[in-house]
Every structure is written in structure tokens, then in C-alpha cells.
């Protein structure tokens, strides 16, 4: 791959840039917006994490000691909403903004003004959501899944704020997704054919289509909740001819593709990092592309596996069970491809690689507990227990979040021009790895033993495991502060890095200077 890097005039362009806050408010530069997304996501990660600390502090002992049950419910609800829509999704969008134009040799995102909007409406969405916590009656307390009638008949008047916050988040995600698609379809450098696209770009392209397909359905669901609650419609009210079970069908029609929205870009990051530190080409590039597409397609026909206990007919339960299990085939292809990439490679264990290997092992573990949940008769025991909580935290924390950490460590030197503090980063990794398993692994046991989720109090026999889980939780929470320190120090200074930060790395992003200049690829590179 050879490139023509055009970097002669990136300095004089900055004369036009306003200074201070306005520089960030008015920016249409993909790198600025990427940084904004990432900083916002890290802030939300800390806020949502603080709520998790409240939850774990209350659950440290049986009985009610710190918060009242209604506040506890608000914490579980808003923790979920913040982590899904405020931490994981904006982090991936931030990485997409930073990396996709540099990976495909584009000067910027295709629709820079819309890009600015899609970021700047997000802080408003989350301010609305967080402010509702301080209003009379409190914030949303019906779980992040906002099942009717909990969110309609039994919710308080602040529900409208939740609905509008979700609307804004949805609009932001849809605009972000449209931008990604237009960029990838229209702005690839000459010679960058579809099957030469880096996998991070491929997985994001597919994710963007998923976003456009399901975020509007979520918007529809919250709109129906809004009109049911305030305008007398009866979408989910049986007394008026509606059906509360239909809420679950509509919600999970969005909800299941949503979980792949949070994991497909992670697959892309891992597929980028593993070859770099194995010093081999990615094993099975084409099969990775097809596997990602199959996962995306299958994600539309498995939603009711969240609803096995709603009284579905046997045929429905069998269909959704088999369809769900079918997803493990393309996912397995991916895991085996990563392992095959490492096989007989000359592996080194830099920080991004450590996070990637932890991802492969622990995400696969979360996948296995997902398979257990997919077995309909067994699901009746696991449903709504801590086993489910363990499952989705393995795939979302040690899956999505670990991949984001891996990606951040991998590209941070390219963004800042400095190597991060490796000793601190190693502490961050090892403390996270140990504490995350102390935090989530015992949840499998208490779940199998029957501890229900979303409760502020529990039976005495779960006390010891819960104390251990809480200690793991506090340790994991505190360890993430190390990450903040590492990022801050790296942005401020450190050892300078060469253009190609990692010697095994491949791709256009490593052919621009470090730190990446404000404008890259003003003249498209030639990809051979």
C-alpha cells in the first residue's frame, strides 16, 4: 500500500478556527468531533459507574441501608440508560469519527455540519435525563427496558423527560449512522475497494445500517408510551383494546439489534489489533465480513428470546431458540479467526493486545452464558435473575468496554503524538481484569441460585456472594480512574512516537504524522 500524504498546509488552516469554547461548539472537523464524543463518553462512563457504585453499596449487605427502593430503581434504570446510550454508543461513534476517514483516506466525514449537530444534541439529552433525577418524584424507575405498564400506568409525571431524552439520543445516533454510511460509500480513496476496507470500517458500516433500522423503532416505542401516558391512547393498555405484551415485541425488535450495535464495532477493533501484535495478516478476512453481515441479519429474527416467559406458543419458542443458537455460528467463526490469527504469530503483549486477548476470552464466556439463556426450558429458571445480569455484563463490559479500552490505547499515541504511561496502563489492565471477574463471575452463581435482578434487598443466603461482588465492583470502579489519569497524562505530554506507532500495524492511519494533523488526506492517497 503506498500513499501520498498531503500535510503541507495543515498549519495555516488553523487561523480560521475560533478559539476557546467556540472552537469546539462550531467545529466540523472529524477529529475534534471524535474527541468530543470520546470525552463525553468517558464522562458518562464515570457518571453511570457512580450509579453502579450506589447499587453495589446498597447490595453489599442484605436489608435496606443506604437508599430507599424507589431511588434504587432509579439507579438501575439510569445506570443502564447512561451506559448503553451515553457511554458505549458514543464511544464507538467517537472512534468512528476519528478513525474511519483516516482508515479510508478521506479528508473528513461526508456531512461535517450534521456531524457537529449529532454530537452537540447529546449533552442536552443526558442533561434532561439526569435532571429528572432531581425533580419531585424522581427520574425513570422502570428499568432501562421501560416495560409498559410500568412506564405508562405506574410511572410518575417525569416520564415525559425520559421520552424526550431518548428521542434526542435516537436522532443523534441516526444522524451519526447516516454520516458513517455516506462517508464510507462516497469518500473511499481511489483503489480502496470493498474487500480492502479495514474491518473496523466494515463492522461500522453494518452497525450504521442496524442503527438506521432500529433506532426509529425505539423512537416509535417511546412515543407510544408518551401518548399512552399523557394523551389517552391505549397502545399498551388492555382496557382500551391494547396489549402490554406488544410493548415487549416492539421494544425487543429494537433491543436485540441494539446489542449487536454495541458489539459489532468491538469486533472491528479486535480484528484490527490482534493482527498488529501477532504480526500476521488477519485470518479469514472475507469470512469476517460475511460473519458480521450474517449476525446483523439474524439479529432481526431473534427478539422474542427475551420474552420466553410471556406465554408464547411452543412453535414460537422453538423458532426463537434455534434462531438464537444459529447466531453462535458466525460469532464462532469470528472467535476462531482471531485465535487462528494469533496461532504461530510472533505475539507481543502491549496494552491494546492485553485488552484484546481479555476480550476474546471473556466475551466468549459471555457468549456461552447467552447460549444457556437461549435454551427455552432453561431460560424459565434464569429469566430475570442475576444470571442474566452476569451474561450481559460479560458481553458489554468485558466485551464492548474492553474493546473500547483496547482501541483507545491502540490509537491514543496516534491522536496525541505521545506514548501513554505504560506502567500505569498495565496497572489499569490487570486491576480491571481481576476486579471485573470478582464483580461479575459470582453473579452467575447467585443468579442460578435464584436471586432476582433489580431488587434493593435479597434473601440471606446470597449475602456472602453479594459482599464479594460489591468489593469487586468498587475495585473495578476505582481502577477506571486510572484510565482517566493515563488518558489525561498522555494528552498533556509523554515520549514522542513515530508515525507508525506499532511496528506490526497496517493501514492508512499509520501513514499520517503523529500526532495526526488537523487535516489529513486533503489529497486522497492511492491504494494499491
Amino acid at each position: 500500500m503506498s500513499t501520498l500524504v498531503d500535510s503541507q498546509d495543515h498549519n495555516h488552516d488553523q487561523h480560521h478556527t475560533p478559539k476557546g469554547f467556540k472552537r469546539w461548539l462550531y467545529t466540523t472537523n472529524h477529529k475534534d468531533i471524535g474527541s468530543l464524543y470520546l470525552i463525553f463518553s468517558l464522562t458518562m462512563f464515570i457518571v453511570g459507574g457512580a450509579m453502579a457504585m450506589v447499587i453495589r453499596a446498597e447490595l453489599f449487605q442484605p436489608g435496606l441501608q443506604l437508599v430507599d427502593p424507589h431511588f434504587f430503581n432509579q439507579m438501575t434504570t439510569v445506570h443502564g440508560l447512561i451506559m448503553v446510550f451515553g457511554a458505549v454508543m458514543p464511544a464507538f461513534t467517537g472512534l468512528a469519527n476519528w478513525m474511519i476517514p483516516m482508515m479510508i483516506g478521506a479528508p473528513d466525514m461526508a456531512l461535517p455540519r450534521m456531524n457537529n449537530w449529532s454530537f452537540w444534541i447529546l449533552p442536552f439529552a443526558f442533561s434532561i435525563l439526569l435532571m429528572s433525577l432531581f425533580m419531585e418524584g424522581g427520574g425513570p424507575a422502570f428499568g432501562w427496558t421501560f416495560y409498559a405498564p410500568l412506564s405508562t400506568t405506574y410511572s410518575n409525571d417525569n416520564t415525559a423527560l425520559f421520552v424526550f431524552a431518548v428521542h434526542i439520543m435516537g436522532i443523534s445516533s441516526i444522524m451519526g449512522a447516516i454520516n458513517v454510511i455516506v462517508t464510507i460509500v462516497n469518500l473511499r480513496a481511489p483503489g480502496m475497494t470493498w474487500m480492502k476496507l479495514p474491518l473496523f470500517v466494515w463492522t461500522w458500516l453494518i452497525t450504521a445500517f442496524l442503527l438506521i433500522a432500529v433506532m426509529p423503532v425505539l423512537a416509535g416505542a417511546v412515543t407510544m408510551v408518551l401518548t399512552d401516558k399523557y394523551f389517552g391512547t391505549s397502545f399498551f393498555d388492555a382496557a382500551g383494546g391494547g396489549d402490554p405484551v406488544m410493548f415487549q415485541h416492539i421494544f425487543w425488535f429494537f433491543g436485540h439489534p441494539e446489542v449487536y450495535i454495541m458489539i459489532l464495532p468491538a469486533f472491528g477493533i479486535i480484528s484490527t489489533i490482534v493482527p498488529t501484535f501477532s504480526r500476521k495478516k488477519l485470518f479469514g478476512y472475507a469470512s469476517m465480513v460475511y460473519a458480521t453481515s450474517s449476525i446483523a441479519l439474524l439479529s432481526f429474527v431473534v427478539w422474542a428470546h427475551h420474552m420466553f416467559t410471556t406465554g408464547m406458543p411452543l412453535a414460537g419458542e422453538l423458532f426463537f431458540m434455534y434462531a438464537t443458537m444459529l447466531i453462535s455460528v458466525p460469532t464462532g467463526v469470528k472467535v476462531f479467526n482471531w485465535v487462528a490469527t494469533m496461532w504461530r504469530g510472533s505475539i507481543t503483549f502491549e496494552i491494546p493486545m492485553l485488552f484484546s486477548i481479555a476480550f476474546i476470552v471473556l466475551f466468549t464466556l459471555g457468549g456461552f452464558s447467552g447460549l444457556m439463556l437461549a435454551i427455552t426450558p432453561a431460560d424459565f429458571q434464569y429469566h430475570d435473575t442475576y444470571f442474566v445480569v452476569a451474561h450481559f455484563h460479560y458481553v458489554l463490559v468485558t466485551g464492548a468496554v474492553f474493546s473500547i479500552m483496547a482501541g483507545a490505547y491502540y490509537w491514543l499515541p496516534k491522536w496525541t503524538g505521545h506514548m501513554f504511561n505504560i506502567t500505569l496502563a498495565k496497572w489499569h489492565f490487570w486491576l480491571s481484569l481481576v476486579s471485573v471477574n470478582i464483580l461479575f463471575f459470582p453473579m452467575h452463581f447467585v443468579g442460578l441460585a435464584g436471586m432476582p435482578r433489580r431488587i434493593p434487598d435479597y434473601a440471606l443466603q446470597f449475602a456472602d456472594f453479594n459482599a464479594i461482588i460489591s468489593i469487586g465492583g468498587f475495585a473495578f470502579g476505582l481502577s477506571q480512574l486510572l484510565f482517566v489519569v493515563v488518558v489525561y497524562k498522555c494528552a498533556r505530554g509523554g515520549e514522542s512516537v513515530p508515525d507508525k506507532v506499532w511496528e506490526g500495524a497496517e493501514g492508512l492511519e499509520w501513514e499520517v504524522a503523529s500526532p495526526a494533523p488537523y487535516h489529513t488526506f486533503s489529497t486522497p492517497p492511492e491504494v494499491k
Partner: protein, 185 residues
Amino acid sequence: MEHDALLKKLLLSAVAMFAFAFALVPLYDVFCDVTGLNGKPSMEVAEQSQKVLNSRMVDVSFTTHAQQSAPFAVKSQQYMVQVKPGEMTEVTFFAQNLSGSARVMQAVPSVSPGKAAKYLHKMACFCFDKQAFAPSEQLEFKLLFYVDTELPADVKELTLSYTVFDISDSVQANINAATVNSGAS
């Protein structure tokens, strides 16, 4: 620039998916009707039964359940009746408004097993209409129904369950318009 064309298509898809979310509502009902899932019986007045099948008996039980905060007590006279398919049967329900104010009730029927729902035909039912109650008023309702002769052979018993809702708030505005006792014929 071809950006605009692509942008338009993608925006249109997003709008279409928003509309699709609302289209799921009627689709859901149609799907349940066609497959007979969900135990939702018809809310239309059925036609007269044409023939009676003497060869088999079906147990039909009745349960009623008032939603939390719905101040009604509704009970059927018999807990269970044995009927021949096609045979018209009348069952009396006693209903009382437990509150000291005028209330409006809506009963929503459901049949278990779900696949039997479309074989239960109601010719008169208090669930067809809203029912207005004076304070503490007691009313008697008649349910006239028959089981279809086509009822699958493996269904030997079925349950007709009524969930009773208090819809006074939503009909308060036109409470006078509500048909009083129209279902109690």
C-alpha cells in the same frame, strides 16, 4: 455531489422505520387473529349457532380478575359449565361497584388455551360495551355463548377469563353518553 441522494435515501429509511414501528400495532393484531395466538377472542357479536354436536362435551370455566385499583367485584354464577359444541349457553354474572362514586367498567376477555380463542363465540357479552355503575350499584349481566363445532379434538376444557378495568377517568367527559346496561339484555 452524490451525498445528497444517499442522504435522502437514508433519511427516508429512518422515517419509514419510524412508521414501521406504528405499523407493528395493527400487524400484531392481524398476526394474532390469523394464528389465534394470544387468546384474544373476537369482540364482535357472533351469529347464531347452526348445529349442535352431541358426540362430545367441553368444560368451560369462568374466572374474573379486577385490575389493581379497579373497585369492582365480578363473579359468575357457576364456576364451570359443561356444554356440547354448538349448544347455546347462558351464564349470569354478578357485578358490584365497590366504591361510593359512579364508575365505568370495561371487561376484557381472554381465552386459555390460546388456540381455542377463535372457537368461542359470544352472542351477548357485557364485555362488548362499557358498563356504567351508580355508586355501590349491583348489576347482573348475561353472557350468551357457544363453542364452535370445529373446536380441535384435543381441547377438552377451556377457560374464559375476564380482566376488569376501571376506565372512569377516560370516559368521565362523556359519561352520559355511555350506554347504561346495554350488555345486560
